[in-house]
């Protein structure tokens, strides 16, 4: 395994991939070029394309899920793997090239300085502020909900670029059904975990805004808002 890095550095990048044959190699090679001393594992989420083959051909560490579990389930698999192999930090890293590995060392530094969760935020610096999109509108709503229930401001709750520290990984082990989503961030905040944000640039994905996509956003938002505003109160710490 040429790219297998043992946990000396203690950070594992979990790269969930579902039918990502087109961008996976570019993303992973870019990752290795920028972060040669950070471990990573690709989680093939039951892809039907050549995602797994690409990993095997290139010697990428690969977890291959026998069925499609969705992003949360795939990320969870990476977290379990990280815990079993003694990693102290886990970062969620997109296979489609949206996340830039340049920011990982900074985020790890922030975690080592005492943050339990480090979020790569698109809206912390001036560059990301001007843009208006459906996604941003959703972020504003979730930001409000999180501020209302926890008193803390998370500028980019929907950012998928999140780094989790040891304490949170231990928590995840005990709560096997966590989803790495904004409601989890709110839940962690409420239970005294420290969440910090660092400004990052995230490449925009060229995705068509179809009707179906719109409804999925509405569903997602409904679920998140209900979870943050209501269900959280019934959740065990």
């Amino acid at each position: 395994m040429p790219h297998e890095i043992k946990p000396k550095d203690k950070l594992l990048a979990v790269i969930p991939a579902f039918n990502e044959e087109e961008s996976l190699k570019r993303t992973v090679d870019n990752f290795i070029a920028h972060c040669p001393d950070v471990g990573f594992v690709v989680v093939d989420d039951g892809s039907s394309d050549r995602t797994a083959d690409i990993c095997l051909q290139n010697g990428y560490p690969l977890l291959r899920l026998p069925v499609n579990l969705g992003l949360s389930g795939a990320f969870q698999a990476g977290v379990h793997y990280a815990k079993q192999n003694g990693y102290g930090y886990v970062i969620q890293f997109d296979a489609d090239g949206q996340h830039l590995p340049e920011y990982i060392p900074q985020m790890l530094e922030a975690a080592k300085a005492g943050a339990d969760v480090v979020i790569g935020s698109r809206y912390l610096d001036a560059a990301g502020r001007g843009k208006h999109s459906l996604r941003k509108a959703g972020s504003v709503l979730l930001r409000g909900a999180i501020r209302l229930t926890t008193g803390k401001t998370i500028t980019d709750p929907t950012s998928g670029m999140r780094l989790f520290g040891t304490r949170v990984l231990d928590y995840f082990e005990k709560a096997p059904n966590f989803d790495p989503e904004p409601d989890m961030i709110a839940h962690l905040l409420r239970n005294g975990y420290r969440v910090t944000e660092l400004p990052v640039r995230i490449e925009e994905r060229l995705a068509g805004k179809s009707y179906l996509r719109f409804w999925r956003v509405v569903q997602y938002m409904t679920r998140m808002l209900l979870s943050i505003l209501l269900i959280q109160w019934f959740r065990k710490a």
């Binding site: 395994m1 095997l56 560490p61 977890l63 291959r64 899920l65 069925v67 079993q84």
Partner: protein, 132 residues
């Protein structure tokens, strides 16, 4: 309760009962899951054969008609059943996730172990086995 409703109830509950029995025998329906449906059908049958039961309780609880009591009862029982089924389905989803994740982690270890065995080193036998 009008005779029409009674007859419909009797016929329907008998039909459902027979259908279920056949399905339970033919398919891998766990007996513990079948118990609910058997009792549910039996309850419907009893209510349709002895409407006095429904009439008595409808009177007692001031229902407009015994049929209403029967409907309310059925809706309530089915609602509860649906809730518990949703709970179970959620539970199963969790178990499925955990199982799939464990399989993935073990498969990686197995693949790496097999790669270390000299005989298996050249031909990638793990790959053939997994891809259907």
């Amino acid at each position: 309760m009008s005779p029409a409703i009674r007859i419909i109830l009797i016929v329907v509950s008998l039909l459902v009962f027979l259908l279920m029995m056949r399905r339970i025998r033919r398919e891998k329906f766990l007996i513990s899951d079948a118990v609910f449906w058997i009792l549910f059908c039996a309850g419907l049958l009893v209510l349709s054969i002895f409407p006095q039961i429904a009439i008595f309780f409808a009177d007692l609880l001031d229902f407009y008609s015994p049929a209403n009591l029967v409907y309310v009862l059925i809706i309530f029982v089915l609602l509860m059943k649906m809730f518990f089924m949703a709970l179970k389905s959620s539970n199963n989803e969790c178990k499925l996730r955990q199982t799939a994740q464990t399989v993935a982690i073990l498969e990686k270890r197995l693949r790496e172990l097999e790669a270390r065995i000299p005989e298996n080193g050249e031909d990638d036998s793990t790959r053939q086995e997994d891809t259907k």
